[in-house]
Amino acid sequence: MTLVAFWTFAAVAIASAVLCITRRSPVASALWLVNTLFSLAAIYVLLDAPFIAAIQVLVYAGAIMVLFLFVIMLLNLGRTAPGDIKGPWGRAVAVAAGLVLVFELVALWLAAPPGELELPAGTVAGTVAARGAVQAVARPLFQGYLVPFEVTSVLLLAAIVGAVVLAKRRL
C-alpha cells in the first residue's frame, strides 16, 4: 500500500518535473513545479516526516512558488518568450550532461549502500508518534541546532534587506 502510494507520487513528481523544464511558458513551468512539490510533500509523509511535509506545502509550494509567480506576473513574462529553450546544441549538451549525471548517481546509489548506522525500522516513526510531528523536529532544532537556527534568522534578515535594496527603484 505504502509502496503503491510512493510510486504513484513519485511518478507524478517526475512527470511534473519533466513538464516543468519543458514547458515554454514560465507560468506553466511554475505550476508544474508546484505540482512536483506537492507530490514530494506527500512522499515526505510516507517517509515519516509529516512536519516537513507541512512546511513543504506551506513554505515551498505556498510562499516561495507564489513569489515566483508573482515576479513572473510582475515582469509580464506570462507569454511564451522566444528563445527561452536553447537550440539543438544546447539541448544535446543538456541531455548528455543529464545522462552522465544519471549514470553517476546510479553508480553512487549502487556503490554506497547505507552504512551500519541504520536505526531499527520505525524508530523515527515511533518518535513522531510519541512526541507529535512538531516536537519531534523541534527538540533537535532547539537543542543541538540552536545556534544555527538563530543564525538563520540573521540570514533571513539579510535576505530581506537585500531584496528590498535590490528591488526598490530608489532608496
Binding site: 513519485a10 514530494l40 513554505v59 529553450i85 523536529v137 528591488a167
Partner: protein, 98 residues
C-alpha cells in the same frame, strides 16, 4: 523499505533540475530548476533521516530557509536586472563580463 526508491527518485529529480538549468535561458525558470534540485536533495535528507535520525529533517528545515532567502534575493536581482535590460534572457545579459 523506501530508502532505495527515494534515492532513485531524488537522483532523477536532481538530474531533471540540472537538465533544466542547462536547457533554459529564462532566469526565473532556471531559478525554479534550482529549487527542483534543492528539493531533490531534501528528499534524500528525509529518506536518510528515517535511517539515521531526525537531524536530516532539521537540515531540510535549514535548506528551506536558505531557499526562501535565496529566492527572495534572487528574484529581487532578476527584477533589478529586468529594469536595466528589459529581459530575463540570460544570454542577453552579460553584466558579469570580465
Amino acid at each position: 523499505m523506501l530508502l532505495g526508491p527515494s534515492l532513485a527518485v531524488s537522483a532523477i529529480l536532481f538530474t531533471l533540475g540540472v537538465v533544466g538549468v542547462l536547457l533554459r535561458r529564462n532566469a526565473i525558470v532556471i531559478f525554479m530548476c534550482i529549487e527542483l534540485m534543492l528539493n531533490a536533495v531534501n528528499l534524500t535528507f528525509i529518506a536518510l533521516s528515517q535511517q539515521l535520525g531526525l537531524d536530516g529533517q532539521v537540515f531540510v528545515f535549514f535548506v528551506m530557509t536558505v531557499a526562501a532567502a535565496e529566492a527572495a534575493v534572487g528574484l529581487a536581482i532578476v527584477i533589478a536586472v529586468y529594469r536595466h535590460k528589459d529581459t530575463v534572457n540570460l544570454q542577453r545579459i552579460n553584466l558579469l563580463r570580465g
